[in-house]
Amino acid sequence: MDPADAEDTAWTVHTEVFEGPLDLLLYLVRRDGIDLEQFPVSRIAEAYLEYLDRMRVLHLGVAAEYLVMAATLVWLKSLELFQRRPAVLDDEEEAEDPRRALARRLLELQRYREAAERLDAGVQLGREVFVREPGEVDVADRPVASPIDAFGLLDLYYELLEREPAADLVIEVGRRGPDVAGCCRGVLQWLHRRGGEGDLADLLASLPTRAQRVVTFLAVLEMARLQWVDLHQEAHLGPVGVTARVPAWVDLSPITGALQQEAG
């Protein structure tokens, strides 16, 4: 719609919703047929400020980032009026002209926008093409009598913390606690010493400190998520078995990459 109509009537409904100042700039560039390679700063700045005024007239809240962009544009315009190179460029020859930098950002966004359009224009699963839901086999040789339930795991976890009072009541300042990656390695080694599977309760009970149990429990969940181990439970609230699906020397980087920060 033409924003110029907006002032005339109190009933104008403004439908353009912009995703941030760059989006608005791109809209104006397209609306006014501005060549981004030329980047006429004053023309762009005027169109932008005029648009913000319209938004104010319509009592649309103008978010802070729009005002930041307005300030930037006014600054760029002032540079152009004084025919000056920005001072930042005098200090460092390598620095990019801020006008060029902004044009570049817009061109870059324009490219991704076009890529998004191409992506959307293609054939999409669930829209133009359809597939079958993956078939399933009733597997008999895997001990999944009932899928393990989250409460079973939680019960087991609390039970363990209760049953064996933690031994590490001594506070050790500055000592790093167990990390998830290390515990993953430990769990895999423990499992492989037992021919690849074991009982989760036994595994946790074998650890001396509460901290180790907690982190090892998390390690098991994380490995289950990565499908490095299978968790299985024969009966509701029964013992939870763990089966290793990867060798003990598996590369731990998926875990160190994502989790060490939290654990450390």
């Binding site: 100042p21 980032e65 829209r127 359809f130």
Partner: protein
């Protein structure tokens, strides 16, 4: 059971009398792909068939693909997300949508744009996506993760160790791409990069 000779060994394969082209493999592969639903690689298909090499399966799949296309069947065989998948021909889309009821969920402009930034720049942090789009992208990324199109791919090795995002196999499947190299090239990249 008829068999076919390969390297002096009898390969048990029903209907596989003709050695050239592995004619008997085609219906078998079609059955496997139908049952699987999800994209399956030639290697996995070969393992399921036993005693058939991946190369033979790959050749037979290509043959099956051409045959399905040529005979104007309901299904197409498409190379997608590192595997092969049977999909309905797009010309039946409208009828299928009516049959299944409801309108397909479309990704918003913001979601598509964020998705393409992640696809082309992966692994990428939220801050990097936001710098490009000039707007907060947290909720959009969340939506894309919930829809299985984007995943957390680790943390960037810089202060604060921000999470990095990448696209999933599901993304390739939804947009019908064989792999990430199948993404259309970004326009004017060299033009912008040169200065």
């Amino acid at each position: 059971m008829s068999g076919e000779e390969e390297g002096g060994r009898l390969v048990p394969f029903p209907g596989g009398g003709a050695v050239e082209g592995d004619e008997g493999l085609l219906p078998a592969l079609e059955a496997l792909l139908f049952a699987a639903g999800a994209p399956v690689s030639a290697r996995v298909l070969a393992a399921a068939l036993e005693d058939v090499s991946s190369a033979r399966v790959e050749a037979a799949l290509e043959r099956l693909r051409r045959r399905l296309t040529a005979s104007s069947r309901a299904l197409e065989l498409v190379r997608v997300a590192g595997g092969w998948q049977l999909r309905t021909d797009p010309r039946f889309a409208d009828a299928i949508v009516r049959l299944l009821g409801g309108t397909p969920q479309r990704l918003s402009q913001a979601a598509l744009e964020t998705l393409s930034v992640v696809a082309y720049r992966q692994p990428v942090t939220r801050t990097e996506v936001e710098a490009l789009r000039g707007v907060g992208c947290g909720p959009v990324l969340r939506t894309l993760i919930d829809r299985g199109l984007v995943r957390v791919a680790g943390r960037k090795d810089e202060p604060g160790r921000p999470l990095q995002y990448a696209t999933t196999d599901r993304f390739l499947e939804v947009f019908g791409l064989p792999d990430l190299d199948g993404l259309p090239t970004l326009r004017e990249r060299e033009e912008i990069d040169e200065d």
